[in-house]
Structure formats: structure tokens, C-alpha cells
Amino acid sequence: MRTGAARGHAGHFHEAGFYGSDAEFRALVVPFVEEGIAAGEPVIIGYDDRKNALVRSWLTDPSPVTFLADKSVYAAPTRAIAAYRRLFEFHAAMGAGQIRITGEVPHPGNGGSFEGWDRYEAAVNTVWEDFPVWGLCLYDTATASAAVLDAAERTHPRILAPSGARRLNGRFQDLSVFEALPYVPDPLETTRPVIELGDSSAAGARQALAQIGEGRVADTILEDLLIGVTEAVSNALLHGRGSVTVRIWAAPDRIVINVHDQGRGPADPLAGLVPASSSIPDAGLGLWLIHQLDINVALNHADDGFTVRLRGHTADG
């Protein structure tokens, strides 16, 4: 049985809160956690080390709470969806009536990149619907950019104020109409690529990338890029339109790749975020696989076609 504001709700009860100070953060997070502990519900917390320590210090007894020390959960949106799903499956199997999670996705204000996380926030309204999850996502208004706060507002059906007041969010956009943040070109993409392959095969792209990437990025990152370019080219050939163009840029310690076709790209807003897309299962698995890798992935739907951008950096490895 569900407790608190989510009582009687089916599926993911997805809520956002905005704070401008530690005091406001405390006012948002502590009642949420204490109420869950009191109800015997599993509570999972995923903030940075400083905020995790603060929450721990504010709780009467933090021992029942799971603090996600493993930052790799937030390494990529697709991985976070899968990692949380495994946790939910475990707790559901243990008979939990409700699972509470609270955390903050990466954005430049907390030292990360927000790229892809707007889609994540939109997607989790749908992909966890089969679990009794209460997700409270807290954003620091002092550090998060206007674009991040805008996306956060548009992806949460409910807003919690530090005062404890709850309201339905009029700006909420359902997944089917959600407008993702605009694609931000990498500075390298405005320069001339090292190579441009027209009508490329996956094997041809791998061969070119292996030659260009060797010594520029760690072997493991290069391998992930090779896997990514294979899947992107295969998807473009199978599901895209027109010719497939692969462009590769290289800096001393990083690689940027575009795989472009003239089609519109996957229409499914969950493409890449979950293993199987409802409309094109095979493409869904390839895109999902790309998003599981230790590389940065961006999808760009533009007037001239669809592009999968892959970026690998030595520091990523």
C-alpha cells in the first residue's frame, strides 16, 4: 500500500522540487525520507557526496536508507533507467508497497553534463509505470541553468515547494509531446572532418575510425566508439533514408563522429532509452546498446535528416 501524497496513485509518482539553499533542500528532502522510513518503505538517495552527507546528518536514523555511492548509476540516462529498474524489481519482489527515490541528475551546475537527461526525465514518467515508485527530483536553482530548470519543469507532472505545498504542474509536457532541449553542436563539428565517408558500410566506418582513433583515446573508449558507429550505421542502413554519411573529427584526446541519413530518425521518444522500441524493435536494441556505452551519445532530428553523434574522450575512460 502506498503512503503520503502518492497514496492511491498507480505507477511512478514523479515530482520535482526547486531549492536555493541547504535549508530549502532540507525542507524538501527530509520529510520525504523520514515519512518513507516510518512507513517501512525502501528509500534510495542519489546525490553527490556532500549532499548525501548532509541528508545523512539530518535524518534521525539513516540506517534503513540506501545511499547510492556508485556514481556510475548516473553515467548515462539509459544506464540510470536500467539500474533503477533493477533496484525496483528487487524491492517489488521483496513486497515493497512503495519505493521512494530522490536524487539529482547531472548538469553543468553540479559538474556534469545535462545532455540526454531532459529525455530521461521525460521518459521516466512512462518507463517505470509498472512499479509503485515515488520519485522526487530536486534541482538547485543557484547552480542549475535556466535551460535545465526549464526542462525540469516541463518533465514533472507535480511540483513540491520547500514549504511542503504540492501542486499539479501546468507546464508539464507528456512524453508524446515533450520538446527536448535543442541539439548543441560540438565545436569540432563546425570544422572540417578528418574523413567523410559517403554510402558507408559499418565495416568501412569501423576501419576508418580504428585508424583515426588509435592513440587518441583509450583503447576501451575506441572500442565503444567502434561498437557505437557499427550500430548507428546499421540502423541508418536498415531504417534511415537516402545515403548514409559518416563524418569523423579528431582532436589530440577525443573523437567526434556523426552518422547521418536523410530520414526523420526514430519517432519513438523512448528510442535508445529502453531496450526495445515499440515501433521498430531491432533499431531499438541497437540504439539502446549505443546508449549503454562509455561514450557520449546525442540524437539530432533536423530538417536535413537524422544524425547520431558519438563522442569519446580520453578522460572518459
Partner: protein, 280 residues
């Protein structure tokens, strides 16, 4: 050491090599046959030519088209009407074919030869789509047999078969470069070797090739050796995983390249069916 992988020349094949070649005109086949047989005679192998027609017709054909030196050498070449090995019409019986090759190989050894070397243009045996599956299974069994016995075979196909050639070429240890992006071959310890690039471009061909792989009756497990795999994408890995799930003996994968292991781990194949990623 068997010759394995794409080859650019039909020269230098040893007593256990199994390779295919493709020709447009019969006149392209003859010089290769001459060379293959001359080399076999020098190695002390019994050499046999399989073809359509009576023994006399085949002898005459050989006499006209190949030159292996003195008359004595030419007479050392056995001719075998193709029906004797492959049966008359209809799909072949792969197990029966291999039994006949095994008996002929054993007879060659008994007669004091170092082994048996055969060649045939098998195009007419695979022209009908209904014949192709059985013949491809036969090629796989022949590949396994030759990896462990002194039987060397040059299987000739004609270009006019079109794309169908690739489904047979990929089941030989050696094949002309460019004919197939991947090969399934037999390792000398009984493992099934995989070689080349396995991605979307050959996914259908790989699915078909996998269907032609069967463990031998005395195999307690089937080992896939991936040390010659350059790349394998998620589709091919899932194909192998599905094969493992329906295979009657446990399937083990060994020497999986790191990049393929990465894909396998993301897919979670470590926990599926009987594909074991041990011995990596």
C-alpha cells in the same frame, strides 16, 4: 597447418585443406585443378576428380583439360562419377556423403597414400534451392572431417549461382578474398572457428550458416572459437545465443575478442542460455 581465411591464390594447399573457388568459364577451373592435383601427387596423396558422366568420359575430360605431367601421373588420378558420392538427384544425405569420403580417405591410406585429395564442380548439385540446405550441411561436415583427417578438397562453384555461392563459401576454411565477410571453419581440436566481420551486412547469411552447424554425435559440448573474429555485432551475438539455447549440447564460447565481449556483456548474454563466456 591448415589454410584458414580469405586467400588470393589457390596454390600451396596442404593435405587437410578444404577450400572453395568460383569460376565463370570451365577453362578457368582447369589450370587450378592441374595445379591442385599436381601438388597432391607430389605430396603422395591419392587424387580423385569427381564429375558428371561415366568413368571413361571423366578420364577423357581430364586428359583434354588438365596436364599433370607424364602419362603415368595422369593415370594415377582417380575419377569418380559424382553420383557415387552424392547420390543421384535430390538433396544429398550429408552423413552418407561424409561416410563415403571417410571410407575413400581410409582406403587411400590403406593403399599406401598419404591421404586423399578431391575436387569437383558442385554447382549442379546446389542449383535448386531445395538442394542447398543439405549440401551446405554437407560442406560443414566435410570441413570438420578434413580438419582431422588427411582429406583435402577444392570445391568449385560457378559464378552463375549468384549470391547463393556465399552460403557455401562461408563454410570452408579457406575461400577467395571478398567472397564472404565471414567464415565458419573447423579447428583441429574440434571447435567451430568463426572468422571475419559479423555485422548487419551478413546477418541473414550468418543466421543461415549457424543453422547448418550441428554437433557430432560424440560431442559432449560445442565450442565456438572466436580468436579470428574481427568484429561481431549484437545481432550475430543474439543469433549465437539463440543457437546455444536450442542446441542439444552445451555451447561454450572461447577466445572472444574484448570488443565483442563488451557487446555481449551489455546485452547480458552471460546470463542467458548455455553461452558461457568462460576461458576469455
Amino acid at each position: 597447418m591448415r589454410m584458414i581465411g580469405p586467400v588470393v591464390s589457390s596454390r600451396g594447399f596442404g593435405p587437410q585443406d578444404h577450400f572453395c573457388w568460383v569460376h565463370g568459364d570451365p577453362s578457368d577451373y582447369c589450370p587450378r585443378l592441374t595445379e591442385f592435383f599436381s601438388d597432391g601427387l607430389e605430396r603422395g596423396l591419392r587424387v580423385a576428380y569427381l564429375g558428371s558422366g561415366s568413368a571413361g568420359e571423366l578420364q577423357e575430360h581430364l586428359g583434354r583439360h588438365i596436364d599433370v605431367g607424364p602419362q603415368q601421373a595422369r593415370q594415377a588420378i582417380q575419377v569418380i562419377p559424382v553420383e557415387e558420392i552424392y547420390g543421384a538427384g535430390g538433396p544429398v544425405d550429408p552423413a552418407e556423403v561424409i561416410k563415403k569420403y571417410a571410407a575413400a580417405t581410409q582406403q587411400a591410406l590403406t593403399d599406401g597414400y598419404q591421404g586423399l585429395r578431391v575436387s569437383a564442380d558442385v554447382t549442379d548439385l546446389v542449383r535448386a534451392p531445395a538442394q542447398q540446405d543439405a549440401f551446405a550441411r554437407c560442406e560443414f561436415l566435410l570441413e570438420r572431417y578434413s580438419s582431422r583427417h588427411p582429406l583435402s578438397a577444392m570445391c568449385e562453384y560457378r559464378f552463375d549461382l549468384g549470391d547463393a555461392v556465399a552460403q557455401f563459401a562461408c563454410l570452408h576454411a579457406a575461400a577467395p578474398a571478398g567472397l564472404t565477410p565471414f567464415q565458419v571453419f573447423a579447428c583441429d581440436d574440434g571447435a567451430v572457428g568463426l572468422l571475419g566481420d559479423f555485422d548487419m551486412t551478413c546477418q541473414t547469411a550468418f543466421e543461415r550458416a549457424v543453422q547448418r552447424i550441428h554437433p557430432a554425435p560424440d560431442d559432449s559440448r560445442l565450442v565456438f572459437d572466436m580468436s579470428a573474429v574481427r568484429y561481431m555485432d549484437h545481432r550475430a551475438l543474439l543469433t549465437l545465443d539463440e543457437f546455444a539455447q536450442r542446441c542439444q549440447v552445451p555451447v561454450v564460447v572461447r577466445s572472444m575478442p574484448r570488443i565483442v565481449r563488451r557487446v555481449a556483456r551489455v546485452l547480458g548474454l552471460e546470463h542467458l542460455g548455455a553461452v558461457h563466456l568462460g576461458e576469455l
